[in-house]
Every structure is written in C-alpha cells, then in structure tokens.
Symmetry: C2
Subunit: 362 residues, 2 copies
C-alpha cells in the first residue's frame, strides 16, 4: 500500500495525463508517468470505481489477442456533497456537480445543538444527501466558520461549540467518504476562482455579513499561514480606541463594516446623507486594502455581501482609495468588484475544495 | 525521457525517501515510491553523478549472488554557485554549501556593462566559480533586482538593461548547469527561513537600502502573484501628495524609509531629535505593516538593512504600531526583529533557491 500522499499524487498525475492527452490505455499511462503497470492498474481500478474514469472500448490498431482498452475522463459521473455551516440557525447542504452547479438542496435546523450534537446533525445531513444522489459521490466538502487546519481539525468554532475537533476524521469514519473541511471565507475565495471570474494567482475576497472575514488565493493556492488565519481582514484596527470588538480590541474594521453596524449607521442619518456615509466606510476599507493589495501585487479584490449596501458608493470609494494609495502598475491591473457568484459561495466553495483535494485542479 | 517536471518530482521523491528513512537499496526505493526499477536506476544514476547520493556497500542479509547496494544521501558532496546582482557597481559571487556556508567568494566590476555585456559578465563569474569548486556543482542561483518569472525570465531589471531576457536559459546553455533566477528580496526572505530563524509558514522580510523591497513566504513557499511583485511594500503610499517617487507616484513608503532619504532626514535635525525622527518613520512603517500582518496572519516580520539606522528606536516604533493595530491573537504570536542573517542574504538566498528547486526542501 502506498502512503496516502504519494497515492493521491499518482492519482492526480493519471487524471492530469487523461485531461491533457485525451483517452489513453493503461500501458500508455504507465509509459507517460513511469509508474509500474501494476500500480497504474490498481489506481485505475480506484478511478473506475469512483466513476471518474470510464473504459471507452478497444484502442484502434492494437494487436489481435492483446486488445488495449482506452480510458477517458468522465466529467459528469460524480457529485459532491457540500455543506455550509456559516449560518447560526440552519445548516445548509447540497449535491453539486464538478462544474459547480447545484443539483439538489437540503438543510437542517441547528437549534440549540452544539459540540457532538452538532456533529450528529452534520453527519445526518451528509447521509441524507448521499442517499439522494443518483451518481457516485466523490467526496464531502464542509465550510465552517472558525479556525481549521489542513488535516480537517476544527481548532475552534465557538458558534458550534467545537474546539480541537477532528471533524474530517469523525465525519469520514461515519459516512465512508473522504471529507475536506475548510474555513468558510477561504473556500468562498476558492469558489470565486474555480467557478467564477477570479484569478487564482492573486485574489482577495472580503466577506461582509454579521462579521467581516476573507480569503486569499496566491499562485493557485489558498493561503493558510502559521495561525491558519490568512484572509482575516476584519480585525485590522481602523479607529484606535474606537468601538469595542468581539476580538477584545477596539475600532476593528468589523466594527465599521459588518452589516449590522453598517445598517445602524445608515439608520442614524437622513436619506440624503446615506451615500456619503457609505463612501466614508468604503474609503476606510480601501485604506486597509491598499497596503495589502500593493504588497501582494494581487489583481482581484472581490466583495461578497448584500449588494444593496456594497454595490454602489461604498464600492466606488474602495476603488478610489485603493487606486490612490497603490503602486501604479498594481492599480492598473487591479479589478475591485462584487463577487461574480452572488450566492451559495460557501456551498460551491466546499465543492471546489473537494475537487481540488481529490483531483488536484483549481 | 520523462517530462522535466515529472522527472524533478520523482528525483525529489527519491531524495525525500532517503532523507526520511535512511539508506535504502534501489529495490527498496522502487517499492517505496512505486516507480519502476528501470526508472529508479536511471534517476539514481543521475543522483550518483551529481554526488548527492553515494553507494554505501551491500545491504546486510541480502541473498548471496544478488547483493543489493545501499544508497545514502551525501550532504556535503556538492556546492552551489550563487550570484548577487543587486549592487549597482559590483556583481558578487560565491560557492556555498548545502548548509548555507560560504566556501569561496569572487566578484566582478559591472562598470558600464548593460544588456548582453552584463550577461557575459554573469557567465564569466559563474564559470570562474565553477572552475574553483573542488566538489560537483549542484546548480547556479542568481538573485537580481527587478521582476523575474518562475521560468527564469527577467521581465525587467532596468539597472542591468534587461527586458524580457530568458536569463536562466541563456546562462544555463553556456555553463551546462541548471540555473535558478529570482528577485533579490524574495530570496532574501527564503534565506532567512532556510538558513536563519524565519518561519516559512508566514514571514515577511523588508529590505531597506537604496530602495525598499521585500519578500514573503507563506505555507512554505515564496509568494509571486500575478504581477510577480509580491513583497514590494516600498510603493505603498503613506503620504498622499508627498515627495515624488521613482515609480511615478508621490509619498511612497520608499520616499520616507529608503536609506538615503532616512540619512537626509536625520542630517536635517539636531542630535537629540534623531531618536524621535527614527520613531516617526518606524510608526509609519508599522501602520503599513499592520493590515498586511493581520490579514496574512504571519508570525515573523524581519527588517534587513543598516543596523545603526534600523535596530533601535525605529524597530521599537514598528513593533508598537503593529501591535496597536493588529488582532490580539496575531500580535501575541508576532516577532518583529532584525534579520538573523546580518549579511550576504541574497547570496545565501540564491543558494537556498537552488536547494529548493533541485531538492524540493526549504
């Protein structure tokens, strides 16, 4: 038995060969990758069982008595189970195909369930979706708020009562499928690059809701960082000594930009002052983004959240403030816009994450 | 013949097996990696020729008549040729071992050489160093100012008169060795992580000299980005409408922090005001760094440049400003300090880059 990492690398090598070259025989694959024929046959058996590869008949020109079967990729053969745990009251789920299209939806009330009880709800929702699927399931992707490591351990997700919880392992053992777990804002950024218009070489997504989070892709990969917190723009201090924030500091960006604060702020002014309030907040966000955008040299900044608040004077002011404070060559290439995926960005991001971890493609 | 990428991956897989498990036979390596024995023998021949692997005698307990030879890694068998092109007047070179120790130095005056003439000087310096080496040369690493892509093409390095120059290919063809080219500040950050105290999961190096540049490592890799400019913190605008900058903008961080500007500023005040001038500049740098540090969640910020200017009130003010404006959990883990490598950071970075591209290890 190969180590899991090596096995996954080899599987991905075979899939990439088939994607690059078109249908090939097992012998062709062995030649192209220099893996042994035994290994190739073994891995192909797994891909056939997963439905990712299909046998396409005999290779033309093969010698009689030794027919070689051609193998091809099957893009629509499988579905992915995706869960979005970012809502405080309802756990959302869906079956999603490899193109990011939602085939079926399901959901379960979270109620007061926390800790193990919340895990039970997750497992039940996954099992229901698996049972609904008319195609083989490639894997399960889960987007959760909080801090998640690259082994699928939820280091902390206070809203769900999870601390140091090996969620991928726990769910995987009960549903018998590979499970990928990721922070909700990080996979939202991945979704924008995989299924939307985002550039995976340099994109930052800012998710604006009850809180303010974000995710970054650079050079084709989601950034994690030593604290597993890459993308967490919400707690940059913009008003030293300002309003208290849940993180323990004062004057964080979140205290100005999160949807409830933004709505409170707009409710307190006359209708003709709304645009200038939104502009002020956009300028604040732009000033925080400029050093990040210039120093990373990214080309895509996307906002995800309520369009009626964000997609107007606020977005315009972000654009102006970033342009004013960035290096000209960066400003020239930069596109600051609303996310091209208007909804379900965590669900489709969870599907993109499974696609990436199982197939090695963004 | 395998594609170069696959060949490199397989070589790195063999080296990692030997590093992880200790001495193994060719058959053991084939079993551990599931590469064919023919491929393993072929790759091992290359590693033996490079001197990276040595035969260590017969495996104990092997059947008579079929002795299996054990293979082991040889850390001190090879040297790396490293060049630092970041100085305007002298091209620096060195032979460096795999631990980052400089064995021999050499240098050549740049004079008025630009374009092809500058390439000729680079090739001559490499050839002299190769001729000096008493051990096989693993590869050539070159750190250059300017914009470099991941194929070793210098997109632009105005000081050397290079535009869209395939430098890795040009030098490689003339010296017959693999050549890695990288931006000087990016490999300075790599050096700090490979041979110094830096954390490759999240480090930013700020290089302060005639200009202000930088490099970032996240999750074990140097960041590039779509514009190949990741790390370029010098052109964040800190004083809108301030002093004109070489980039075409006004009030860039570089106009405040670059060594010549900093020295001018200190020369203009009385001796007892020097510390407060340095503090003011440190506070400005800290305010630029805070959004970057919080949003990336990095743990290491290192300054590289003249200690007499940086390592005092300026560094202290950077620390205070970053701490004040960052998320508490990030501030807690953050270490803002002078680079642990006080000199030769581009030369050793070039060696680290060769080590990384040839052996797959940071």
């Amino acid at each position: 038995m190969l180590p899991a990492d090596t096995r996954r690398h080899h599987l991905s090598l075979l899939l990439q060969c088939l994607a690059d070259t078109g249908p090939l025989s097992r012998a062709d694959l062995a030649r192209a990758t220099s893996l042994t024929r035994v290994t190739v046959s073994d891995l192909v058996a797994e891909l056939l069982a997963d439905g990712l590869v299909a046998e396409l008949g005999t290779k033309p020109g093969a010698r009689p008595g030794k027919p070689a079967t051609l193998l091809g990729l099957v893009h629509d053969a499988v579905l992915i189970v995706a869960l979005d745990l970012s809502d405080d009251t309802v756990l959302q789920g869906a079956l999603i195909d490899l193109h990011g299209e939602i085939v079926t939806r399901d959901a379960v009330e979270l109620g007061s369930a926390r800790g193990d009880a919340a895990v039970d709800l997750v497992v039940a929702l996954v099992q229901r979706l698996v049972a609904t699927s008319e195609r083989p399931v490639l894997g399960v992707g889960i987007g959760t708020p909080g801090v998640v490591d690259d082994k699928g351990v939820v280091r902390q997700a206070p809203n769900l009562g999870w601390y140091e919880l090996p969620l991928a392992e726990a769910v995987g053992a009960r549903v018998g499928l590979p499970v990928s777990i990721s922070n909700d804002a990080n996979i939202a950024a991945l979704a924008e690059c995989t299924f939307g218009a985002g550039n995976p070489d340099g994109l930052m997504l800012v998710a604006i809701g009850h809180g303010v989070g974000g995710g970054i892709l650079m050079d084709g990969a989601m950034l994690g960082g030593p604290l597993l917190s890459a993308g967490e723009i919400g707690h940059v201090v913009v008003e030293p000594g300002g309003a208290p924030c849940a993180c323990g500091n004062r004057g964080c960006l979140e205290t100005v930009l999160a949807v409830p604060h933004l709505r409170d702020r707009l409710a307190a002014v006359t209708p003709d002052a709304v645009a200038s309030e939104l502009e002020a907040v956009g300028t604040t966000l732009g000033a925080v983004l400029a050093p990040i955008v210039t120093t990373l040299g990214i080309t895509d900044v996307v906002l995800y959240g309520p369009a009626e608040l964000l997609d107007g004077p606020l977005l315009g002011a972000v654009r102006a403030a970033v342009a004013e404070r960035s290096m000209p060559v960066v400003a020239e290439h930069l596109d600051v816009r609303m996310a091209s995926l208007a909804r379900d960005v965590v669900l489709t991001g969870a599907a993109a994450h499974v696609r990436f971890t199982q197939l090695g493609v963004v």
